[in-house]
């Protein structure tokens, strides 16, 4: 009998892996030695059942998430149990069932709808982004340290968003265990739940913390994760091992990273006066005893061969002139232009090529925009320091996701900002864990030219934004406080000072905010507002809605889960009349929406492109049809939980309408794409 019988919920876990058999034998041996559980860790509230003296060889365990350290976004609100990150803890509750279940972890966005919305932003230093970039992430931890052998992600709805798996080793470094290729992302997975366990890198790191990266641009609807499992071999005598690993790490770090071009054996030199021997003469011959002789030879052949070929080519083609141009013969502006296309990593690499290239690669014009977000796992105080000396013309800075495990100190950040922040126009510090009140204060004092400030997912207790630190900012056009708590007074004073505000995101800002007061301010001071996100602002009332109707430039409005009242009055009618430019309107779970309101939408929503009326139980087919006819620019229509319409016979009509009107109709129950 296999102990695996306990795991009835992963049918795909078969005994094909040779590892499993070996471990089983070892376990049997251990069991005889005095009984131990095979699987523990990751249970709610269960302590470790480890023996006081574990044996030398580790044992193989499978464990589920014990806790969540961080996540970039979730659909539900913190104190709720629906669709929140906390649902990823523990065993899967729904798998292998497939469907839209609130007991899972769901992120706020899906597909590319948010990228098409009026509130979309452009990436800073876009050339740094990898081909398959990360939209969202979650960081989870487990009970036991293991050398990972498998990571399994239980997807119960719209699978296919996982693009990277990272592990945090005991040496305080992140290792990427797996990364999706272009092909992985292209193949659309089916509409079935799956236990996604891609082949991870063979490694000796010891970890109990994982980060999963998501990219949902190809998804039809929300993806939902039920659980994550980390399998691996535990290590006994962790401290000894830790010592050994740290020693190895230090050795690796101190080894010179190709200091000089490989020392060429002079005996194989063919042309005595060739450029190679000239090169040799200018170098100090530094034998590296540790290097492999074959490698040296290989590199030597490479050098010589390319030179030989070049000479040959010039002789053959009679047409081409023999001027032998080199890259460095190009004028400075062209070289600068070439380097301006490079991502930061390549730029640093180029800087090591030669003195000339070092000078060009450190030119301030190449550091007008700086994004360390794709390098979140490498970003450190030292890197900031290096960049500070180059970025004298810095205008846009993105440090999102950096400094997670203490790699960036608040002091270094403040120093950087004080040196280079005065001309900043765009600053993004999403999920920056190193931020404290003092950092925010520095932002407020130094960066008075800011037009965009993004502080997503910066919720701390007490809230970061809790005194007049940012009151100095007067030029803001975009303020993003998604999932960040703030003191209402501060926000109100900021609204008063920033009359040019165009984009405001207050989703998940917390229950303590009097949203009616906030929108009253908007109606007075910020009438140029174009996009407004108030997702989950439960205490926004119809009175507040009346104020919103004064924002005539509105193109995007998200009132999901707001307005918990039985009736909206004429609020929606007024909104549609006064805001004709409205392109995106989300009324998810706004229970007060009536049939009449929908008729108004159909009549007045001429520019609507995205409409979410999730949860309208009384919705009828006729209203849906009216809306499809009346809103010719509609691309997205979310009808989840509009039970009257999505169940039963009406389905065929909806499918046909989706095609005819070229609209994606979304629902938790079915997929109706326009093609």
């Amino acid at each position: 009998m296999s102990l695996r019988a306990y795991n009835i919920d992963d049918p795909s876990n078969d005994a094909d892996q040779p590892d499993a058999l070996v471990d089983f034998t070892a376990m049997l041996r251990q069991q005889r030695n005095g009984g131990r559980q095979r699987e523990y860790g990751g249970w709610f509230g269960c302590g470790s059942k480890m023996q006081p003296e574990p044996p030398d060889q580790g044992y193989y365990i499978e464990q589920y998430v014990l806790g969540v350290l961080d996540f970039s976004s979730q659909y539900g609100i913190d104190y709720s149990i629906s669709y929140t990150a906390a649902n990823i803890i523990g065993r899967p509750t729904k798998y292998p069932s497939y469907g839209d279940y609130p007991e899972t972890y769901t992120m706020r966005t899906y597909g590319d709808w948010w990228l098409k919305a009026p509130s979309a932003t452009r990436e800073i230093q876009a050339q740094n982004m990898p081909k398959v970039d990360t939209h969202d992430y979650i960081v989870v931890y487990f009970e036991e340290f293991v050398v990972p052998t498998e990571v399994a992600i239980f997807e119960t709805f719209n699978p296919g968003a996982v693009v990277r798996i990272w592990a945090y080793g005991m040496t305080k470094n992140w290792t990427c265990l797996w990364e999706a290729t272009d092909n992985d992302v292209k193949l659309g997975p089916g509409r079935e739940s799956r236990r996604f366990a891609p082949p991870i890198k063979k490694t000796t790191i010891i970890t109990k913390t994982l980060r999963i990266d998501f990219n949902h641009s190809r998804l039809f609807y929300y993806t939902e994760i039920d659980a994550i499992m980390l399998c691996g071999r535990t290590v006994s005598r962790i401290h000894n091992l830790l010592g050994r690993q740290r020693l190895q790490h230090r050795q690796v770090a101190s080894a010179p990273s190709t200091p000089t071009p490989p020392s060429l054996p002079s005996s194989s030199e063919e042309s005595g006066d060739g450029p190679i021997s000239c090169k040799l003469r200018t170098l100090k011959f530094q034998p590296n005893c540790g290097q492999d002789g074959a490698t040296k030879l290989h590199e030597f052949i490479n050098n010589d061969l390319s030179q030989f070929l070049l000479e040959n080519q010039v002789e053959e083609t009679a047409e081409a002139p023999v001027s032998r141009l080199c890259l460095t013969d190009l004028p400075f502006e062209i070289l600068l232009r070439i380097l301006s296309y490079l991502d930061l990593k390549s730029l640093f690499r180029v800087g090591q090529v030669s003195r000339t290239f070092y000078d060009i690669s450190t030119h301030p014009l190449l550091y007008g925009e700086l994004s360390l977000k794709p390098y979140w796992h490498l970003a450190s105080s030292e890197l900031l320091c290096t960049l500070a000396s180059r970025a004298t013309m810095l205008r846009k800075l993105d440090l999102s996701w950096c400094g997670g495990m203490g790699n960036i100190s608040p002091t270094e950040f403040k120093k950087f900002l004080t040196q280079r922040g005065d001309n900043l126009t765009h600053l993004r510090l999403n999920s920056c864990k190193f931020l404290n009140a003092s950092c925010i204060e520095t932002v407020g004092i130094v960066c008075d030219n800011l037009t965009e400030l993004s502080l997503r997912n910066c919720a701390t207790d007490p809230p970061l934004l809790n005194f007049s630190c940012l009151a100095n900012l007067k030029n803001l056009e975009r303020l993003d406080l998604f999932q960040t708590a703030f003191e209402t007074e501060l926000l109100l004073s900021m609204l008063e000072s920033n009359r040019k505000l165009k984009h405001l995101n207050l989703a998940f800002c917390g229950v303590s905010v009097n949203m009616d007061e906030v929108v009253e301010h908007l109606a007075t001071y910020n009438t140029q507002l174009i996009t407004l996100d108030l997702w989950k602002s439960h205490f926004l009332t119809t009175r507040g809605l009346q104020f919103i109707t004064k924002l005539h430039q509105l193109e995007e409005l998200d009132l999901g889960w707001c307005l918990r009242e039985s009736s909206l009055g004429d609020g929606l009618f007024k909104l549609l009349t006064n805001c004709p430019k409205l392109k995106k309107l989300f009324l998810s779970a706004v229970r007060g929406t009536t049939e009449r309101d929908l008729m108004h939408i159909a009549a007045l929503g001429k520019n609507l492109e995205q409409l979410d009326i999730m949860g309208m139980i009384s919705l009828t087919h006729e209203r849906v049809y009216d809306i499809l006819v009346g809103c010719p620019k509609l691309q997205l229509l979310d009808l989840s939980f509009c039970d009257n319409v999505v169940d039963g016979e009406g389905f065929d009509d909806l499918a046909e309408w989706a095609r005819r009107f070229n609209v994606d109709i979304k629902s938790s129950r079915f997929h109706l794409a326009r093609h």
């Binding site: 190709t258 001027s323 080199c326 296309y341 070092y358």
Partner: protein, 155 residues
Amino acid sequence: MSLTPDDCEEPKFVQLKTCEGFIHDVETCLVEQMGTVRDMLLLECSDSTDVIPLAKIEWWIMKMVIHWCRLVQDNSAQKEARDRSSMFIELLEEAKGDDEVVFQLLLAANYLNVESLLDAGTQYLADAITTCGSAEEIRNRFNLQNDIPSDEYEP
């Protein structure tokens, strides 16, 4: 550019003379892509009947630039940068060109102010750099000398 691509129905020609004395007849609409020449014509430094001297350009490079301008015009329907890159690679392969040719093209594009060619050429070289995994590979790829002493390496 003042002319739309469709305006080349009745081509008017401009004569460009390269450094060897070779004269190229080029349709005016293609010449519009060459900022330097276009400005010369605008400022009436020379009549369109005169021959415009371009002493810094050699004839075979001029041919390639003209070919590029024609490619761009033909492809004017699809203006995405991606297409330009593959067009550039095609151009290079046709001429069996190496880095040498790329550099010459860039110098010519710089002198003649052909923005699209400058873009495509610099992007091509940037892509070549990003495929290199280390500074050493970059040196090998472009035949560059390393003049940084080992003790001066920056973090």
